[in-house]
């Protein structure tokens, strides 16, 4: 009972998009809380927003958008059979991911150093809306950072397979799906950035 292993490109892509929907809704829960608490504490959210480091935020936004460009270019490159370009582009994406996380580390070190972290005495003594803002900030950005790590790792795995030749112009759905995941990470940040850094 031999059968050819039939790979379903459209099915694999459909499956990936369905997974992305679940990620959108996962973060959606945190955005739901943000929306509800913003409507309750508009002034405290604005005040806390003003204390956020817009420079870090903008820089990280540019980094992620650029990394998204590189990932999209990698898909084009593999479709054109430009294997070396694929590896460079994926490498660039992963490097951007690492830079993003490093920036996050610097930013959080500064904030935690200033006594801003969930359950801190400083936030405990401040207005309730401020504590809520920062708790949501750490949870949302933290969960997002975890996804940056996962996405970067995923693309590294894909890059290894491209190097080995198991992902190639005739069968690249793994790269395409990996890039889709990476774009999702970018998309979530596109909403995090204005809501946390530009509430002024």
């Amino acid at each position: 009972m031999n059968h050819a292993v039939h790979k379903d490109y459209s099915g694999a892509k459909l499956g990936m998009w369905l997974f992305l929907f679940t990620e959108i809704i996962l973060f959606g829960g945190l955005f739901l809380l943000y929306a509800a608490y913003l409507s309750r504490y508009p002034r405290e959210f604005t005040a806390a927003g003003q204390d956020m480091h817009v420079g870090f935020g903008t820089l990280n936004t540019v980094i992620l958008i650029t990394s998204s460009l590189l990932a999209a270019m990698a898909v084009t490159a593999i479709q054109r059979n430009e294997r070396r370009n694929v590896l460079f582009l994926l490498g660039g994406t992963i490097l951007s991911a690492a830079t993003f996380l490093f920036n996050k580390y610097l930013e959080w070190s500064a904030e935690i150093g200033n006594g801003i972290y969930p359950g801190s005495p400083r936030l405990g003594n401040g207005p309730p809306g401020e504590s809520v803002f920062y708790s949501l900030y750490y949870l949302t950005v933290g969960l997002h950072g975890l996804h940056v790590l996962i996405g970067g790792t995923l693309l590294a795995v894909v890059a290894v397979r491209v190097k080995r030749g198991t992902v190639h112009a005739g069968d690249f759905v793994l790269l395409e799906n990996g890039a889709l995941y990476w774009h999702l990470v970018d998309l979530i940040w596109i909403f995090i950035f204005p809501l946390y850094y530009l509430i002024l």
Binding site: Y9, I24, L187
Partner: protein
Amino acid sequence: MAHEKATHHIVSYKNLFMVWLVLLSLTGLTVWVAHHNLGIGHVWGSLAIACVKSGLVVAFFMHMKYEGRLLRLLLFLALATLAIYIGFTFFDVLYR
């Protein structure tokens, strides 16, 4: 099993680059808007620009512009679901 001719549309480097430039400009715009006094308009304005940016990422970087109707419909379904979760919660939040 459906044997389909995979229509692998290739997005050119040039188009991707253009989208990137637009995304950067919109980022600049949203930062500029935030620093000018708009009150609560900040939130809606920022969200609107974020929606445009994400629309571009979905359409061009994620190839949605070149996908079939089914996938677009399903994305709309997922987004509508999230909108309902948030929107219906506001029946409570807004009217306490």
